[in-house]
Symmetry: C2
Subunit: 475 residues, 2 copies
């Protein structure tokens, strides 16, 4: 499919070809048109589009425009035009753009909404970000359980245009208790005289208004739902969330987890729409924080300066030890973060998970340690790493023993480091979950920094142990 | 919602309460029942469920069972039972489980399918993994453009039960050319005498049968579709993919990107269902590969052994330099990987993106470098890092100069390292995309290892420059 371009729209605007403008809304999806319009600087031109095109198209268009354009339009529009825009937008979309707007524009929008819309929007705006309440809409279809199928379909025809979805309708009894859901396909297949009660799904899933959106998404995904019911504390239906919004939530949460795992604050917008300064601001807090934390590694190395001065080859393996520890930790933490996001673990599983990671760690550490031992010997025999520094006067056996010693030192450090990294990578995300923090915060760079210090301590600890206890001298 | 437990099902089975077994399929979603049944070891018990419960329920149940259970059931079932199972399953689900089954069982299933099903399943099985073809189904509703709404709805009532979705139907002309889509809600709202041609969406989106599933998912997400049409090379409709399968694709692709970013091969199944050995096997190839690559860092450090022996404090800052470089690189690569996944860049954007990253890198590097300079001085003045080693006989000014020298050395290394890391983190994923490899492969650990070597070379390069060119002696 060819996408509409900014130039095509500009030509239609400059030639005042209003019919042409109306036509493109039949031929292209609003999101593509919005993307093209986002490149037009002059708000006066954009407002023309809003004045000549049908308001249900422009309401959807508005929803996809950049925040800058949205604000400029609200500033330029007449009160009546704002009223029409609000009337034609679904409440969850309105809440979505109001959340990012300055207070004076929010006020302007609310003043031009109907009293009923105003109440609902205000209520939706007050739900905590990333909860079911913040992404739900109150525009759904609800019927009494004794309604028959024919009447239901008639009413859907009549009222369905304003609903967010007609693919799932919701059933209550005459005391407003929520009873179940009916999918449109079941309505189509049912006999006109049956009642909703007879055909409704009783194995429905609901969420609480304060449920985290990531959990809502996981339920919709797991149960292949078109829409999920949101209940308040009295178990009354107060809103619904549809699968198209859930798709965005899943994408957004995945991006967020991935950003945190890489030590960059999640972007609020697409890469293209995020400025250079904004991007930089997402990056340096983490870099600086981790830089400061790395002082502990520096302290360890500073404390062992005299050993390093004497046995300089020790420093050659520091990158390998640090990278391996960091990688082993990230591997486990990333698996943990995703499994937690997919609701795989209850609290009672924590010990089981830990025990599983200990066994995985033992296998991974053993295999890596054996390969590493051989590999380090090869490195030294190929003189990629020079040790001992001066081989003159040393027998082949002396050299072999010295190299085995270093190789054993580094590979046993790796063994313990991997075990430790897997444990830290497992425990920290679970701990974050237990204290209701985002597990992704506890993954990636933070674990790397923690494992760095520990691995260096292990390294020099084993070195001292071998030197002092076994009276071996490395040189 | 309370979930059904394994115990409850076992009680129903042991008391031969078959009505009770049928009832739970009305009260609980199949996926939850499957999860409970997955804990039952004895296939004979499970087959009872298949024999007493309605086959449309059990077909869906089968789809959610573990692979072990699926294989055991296929082995135990009679030919007739397999036939019923296949009849009641949608073709994309059949393909899904056949893909993981041993050849003899695949043959058994195909032998018991109708000739028509067999042809379709065989064709679907031949599409490359992770393409539109591999996840599409051929069970959709298609109508000629001149059909009127009343007839369409009547036919949907008649044939819709076997379709994967009735929420979107597809329109062709009498030469089988694909013309557009009609959503069920538009059918409901239309007048019975209108034709499909009049109400169909002409701004539809289609994919090719070889399109990568990640791109399919991005289109469905972007355009809020219920189902997307899959066309063959002749532009004829040959299948559809529905949003509920897309939700799984998005989740799966996000997990995959995140795993690769953390240097662990993506899991094929949930964490719980993945054994200890399997998990370990996902981890150690990457660990060992990166360990081997780290030889380059070791070579650099080995090459500068004499400098390190003389100025041991140099080693104290190695972890900071390596971590910062790795983090800066991962930040950029993770943003790139996600933006590429969301189809944000065309080839023509590559240079623009690079120029943006250079500017971001310059800001991040400058800020971090200035903070780092001050922080390193603080570390040394607090004696967290001991330098110079012996201060007796040195004036306060001498000490200040020496510490500033080291601090300048390390922070200017950081500046260049961050710039370089951002570039590598930007270029490698774009390069992977350009050669049609998964960009996520080029992120995280691999970039860290590349940046490690470079940063150490920069570090000792600047050190040599200062020492040799400016005749400064660090000690």
């Amino acid at each position: 499919m060819k996408k509409i371009t900014t130039e095509e729209i500009e030509i239609l605007l400059s030639t005042k070809n209003y019919q042409g403008l109306r036509d493109i809304f039949e031929l292209y999806p609003e999101i593509d048109i919005a993307e093209a319009i986002n490149n037009i600087e002059d708000t006066a031109n954009i407002i023309t589009i809003f004045r000549v095109v049908k308001s249900d198209h422009t309401a959807e268009l508005f929803n996809y425009l950049d925040q800058d354009h949205q604000e400029a339009l609200i500033k330029t529009m007449s009160d009546k035009e704002i009223g029409t825009l609000i009337d034609n937008s679904s409440n969850d979309d309105i809440v979505d753009f109001l959340e990012d707007m300055p207070a004076n524009l929010v006020k302007r929008v609310l003043n031009n909404s109907s009293k009923e819309d105003r109440t609902v929007i205000n209520r939706l705006l007050n739900y905590k970000e990333d909860t079911a309440g913040s992404i739900m809409t109150n525009e759904y279809l609800e019927f009494i359980n004794t309604t028959n199928i024919k009447d239901t379909i008639d009413q859907i025809r009549e009222k369905g245009k304003d609903a967010e979805t007609i693919y799932t309708v919701f059933v209550k009894d005459n005391k407003r208790n929520f009873l179940g859901t009916v999918d449109l396909d079941d309505l189509i297949f049912a006999k006109p005289t049956q009642t909703l009660e007879e055909i409704m799904n009783k194995d429905f899933v609901t969420v609480d208004v304060n449920t985290d959106q990531e959990q809502v998404a996981e339920l919709v995904r797991r149960y292949d739902l078109n829409a999920i019911a949101v209940l308040n504390d009295d178990k009354r239906l107060i809103g619904i969330i549809t699968v198209d919004d859930i798709v965005d939530v899943i994408q957004e949460e995945a991006n967020e987890d991935m950003s945190l795992q890489a030590g960059v604050s999640p972007l609020d917008d697409s890469y293209k729409n995020t400025g250079v300064w904004q991007m930089a601001k997402k990056c340096f807090p983490w870099l600086i924080l981790l830089l400061v934390i790395d002082v502990f590694s520096s302290m360890v190395l500073s404390g062992f300066q005299s050993q390093i001065a004497k046995v300089a080859v020790l420093s050659a393996f520091i990158p390998t030890i640090m990278d391996t520890g960091g990688n082993a930790g990230s591997q486990t933490s990333s698996v943990m973060v995703r499994s937690i996001a997919l609701n795989e673990f209850d609290k009672k599983d924590y010990l089981k998970v830990l025990w599983k990671e200990i066994r995985i760690g033992a296998i991974v550490a053993s295999v890596t340690c054996i390969v590493a031992f051989v590999w380090f010997l090869i490195e030294m025999y190929l003189n990629l790493v020079v040790y001992p520094g001066n081989v003159s006067g040393l027998s082949a056996l002396d050299i072999f023993e010295a190299r085995c010693g270093i190789s054993l030192l580094v590979s046993s450090t790796l063994f313990l480091t991997i075990m430790l990294a897997k444990l830290v990578g497992c425990v920290l995300p679970l701990f974050a979950k237990a204290i209701h923090k985002d597990p992704a915060l506890m993954s990636g760079p933070l674990i790397t920094s923690i494992v760095d210090v520990s691995s260096l301590l292990i390294y020099f600890g084993i070195f001292e142990l071998i030197s002092v206890v076994f009276h071996v001298t490395f040189e």
